[in-house]
Amino acid sequence: MRFTPTELTIDERALQLEVREFLAAELPPGSHEPGLGMSARSDRAFSKKMADRGWVGMALPKEWGGSDKKAVDRFIVVEEMLRWGAPVGYHWVADRQTGSVINKFGNDEQRERFLPSICRGEIGFSIGMSEPDSGSDLASVSTKADRDDGGWILNGTKIWTSSAHTNDWFICLVRTTPVEPGGNKREGLSQVLIDLKNTEGLELSPIPFLNGEHHFNEVSFHDVFVPDENVVGQAGMGWNQNTTEMAYERGGPDRWLSPFSTVEQLLRETQGGDLERPVVELFGELTARWWALRNLSLSVARLIDDGDAPSVESSLVKEMGTRFELEVIEKLVELVDHELVSESESLFQRLLAQCVLTGPGNTIRGGTIEILRSVAAKGLQGLPA
């Protein structure tokens, strides 16, 4: 394991500047309610504007509507969007992972069907991994696909599905071959694509968040027909594909920037005032930690561009980054030291209220920190003393 410091090239810095100018023009501070990192609102018009700049699916091949850009380029665009609290929700999953999965494992017909519309910011994806009885132990998923003429018949339930009510498509991990007694649970799984809007037998019901917000859904399948052309890659190889997909999810700026817009807003609201030393010290501590974490996270993106598969590194960054997010929130709450009101006049306090209520999910979504530690610990065992 080795994280090598890296810096932005001249072209990369030009991209950073371009993104900043775009955001300053589109969403000047005060003109919009910033989101908390990747939990930001879904806004199709905004996704479209980003896509017009070539910033959605930018790492995908030109042939399919992408820009053949690198992981570092995407890192630059994404970090600016997230720290700004821009409404990236609609294209988020498609841009971060589904586009890459279809490109890597799908066939040309699937690439043709999905990638250009992903890159135009016109299609939103949800992730169907978790089930009521399968969380951390993902290989135990039991949504069952039975063979039928030209496809599969699906029965089962996916749960905790973020934004299935606003997205268009669903990429699901399902069991296409039953596990023999004593067999390997990781075999016989497949990834399938399902239309969330026009599928007979698909039932979608909201699971309100603890604060009443509609984020989660339960999606159940009652004899849903999935044609063969919607199976991604090889039937039965879903576990490996899914593991690759999760690697795209880990270690990026979305794992450490969630409370940034809140901290930035605190600075905006206290600017010009006489700040007490503990407040100055807190700004110092958070700034320094973000500086160091960003350097680590950026080095992971560079490793990916150099052809490495830094799975231990990205698990370490994600585990550390999401714990840092919670630490930021705790420190802000201590600093405020009075009751928070979700309708506060102060944008900072509104954001902090939101941070407190949704923060616990940060160290759970996309694999809990406990599971990430197990992954990382295995990687560490090989280290020389």
Binding site: F3, E264, Q271, F283, T287, W291, S374, L383
Partner: protein, 347 residues
């Protein structure tokens, strides 16, 4: 700009050979390790980054910081930072002669009383002087002048850091010094930042060593019929320590790269702050994972952990540097905060 890999290889080999557990132990008992120092000095390593015309070994600041990282990794009980990028740097940049022996600096204590009069005569005390008792010269910068004071005539009172390394009080009475004008960029503030940068490099090495030691110990130590590293609760310590090792090394190397180019105050301040905190977390995790063995003199963990406890407080603790970075953040303002994080001192 990268480090010459030959430096890493040669210094690693030298330290691995010289800085055995018993040699470090002996250095502590005797208050120094002249043998290790002369082996180190023979290679010219102490003077890396000081120009050859001034009697240095040439090379870049990055090379010198890589050597310091390895000094930290191997817990080498030698005044490498003081002789090189701190004291040696002061003397060389003012055109004063570099002595053959050890140079040290006064890190700055409230209790210091040292004064230098118009004729260059020094009187008074300086405290917590690293390896003061072994130094040939004390280098001082103040009021636009660099002074080089021979230590031979000073009264030396022994004191030690938490790691058992000399941190002495030197008292001078009318000691004559060599003086020269300090060029631009060489002053008390820049020495303090360099001091912090030296500690960051040393600490990055020590945290990495400590975290690797903990991985191997917990894989050997068995309880309940299996290596304790198989327990998730122990794995948590391993993962957290290795994160802090990675964070510290990233911070140290990023700050070093910037310092090699020019103004790096933001990066140095941020790295000292982050690495101080990483040292606190990682020593806690590594000690916990070692059980009672880590509490003994016989086992080597303390060479790293005690050094980290000493270095985290030298050249500014968490309070000092969080105030510095906090002021920079406030000056950048809300719109400038993220650009500060990504652009640092180049902003």
């Amino acid at each position: 700009m990268t480090v010459d890999s030959l430096i890493t290889e040669t210094a690693s080999r030298l330290f691995a050979e010289q800085c055995t557990h018993s040699a470090i132990q002996l250095a502590e008992a005797e208050g120094g390790a002249p043998g290790i120092w002369s082996a180190f000095a023979e290679t010219g390593f102490p003077w890396i980054s000081l120009p050859e015309e001034a009697g240095g070994s040439g090379g870049t600041l990055l090379d010198a910081l890589e050597v310091l990282r390895l000094v930290g990794y191997y817990a080498a009980p030698i005044p490498a930072a003081e002789t090189g990028i701190l004291g040696g740097w002061l003397l060389a940049s003012a055109g004063l002669e570099l002595p053959e022996g050890i140079v040290t600096v006064a890190p700055g204590s409230r209790a210091d009383t040292l004064m230098i009069d118009g004729d260059g005569n020094a009187s008074g005390s300086v405290h917590n002087v690293p390896w003061g008792r072994h130094a040939e010269r004390l280098a001082i910068v103040r009021d636009g002048l660099v002074a080089s004071i021979p230590v031979a005539g000073a009264h030396v009172e022994h004191a030690t850091s938490l790691a058992g390394e000399p941190r002495d009080t030197l008292t001078f009475t009318n000691a004559s010094s060599d003086r020269a004008a300090a060029p631009a960029g060489v002053d008390e503030e820049s020495l303090r930042f360099r001091g912090a940068l030296s500690r960051v490099a040393l600490m990055a090495g020590a945290i990495e060593k400590m975290s690797q030691l903990t991985v191997s110990y917990t894989n050997e130590r068995e309880q309940f019929g299996r290596p304790v590293a198989k327990f998730q609760a122990v794995q948590q310590h391993l993962v957290w320590a290795s994160q802090d090792a990675a964070l510290a090394r990233m911070a140290a190397e990023s700050a070093g790269r910037q310092a090699n180019r020019g103004d790096a105050r933001f990066e140095i301040a941020s790295s000292k702050l982050v690495v101080n905190q990483a040292a606190t977390r990682a020593t806690k995790a590594c000690h916990q994972a070692h059980g009672a063995m880590g509490m003994t003199q016989e086992y080597e963990l303390h060479h790293s952990s005690r050094r980290l406890w000493a270095w985290r407080s030298e050249y500014g603790g968490v309070r000092e540097w969080s105030n510095w970075v906090g002021d920079a953040a406030i000056e950048a303002g809300a719109d400038g905060l993220y650009p500060l994080i990504t652009g640092g001192s180049n902003l």
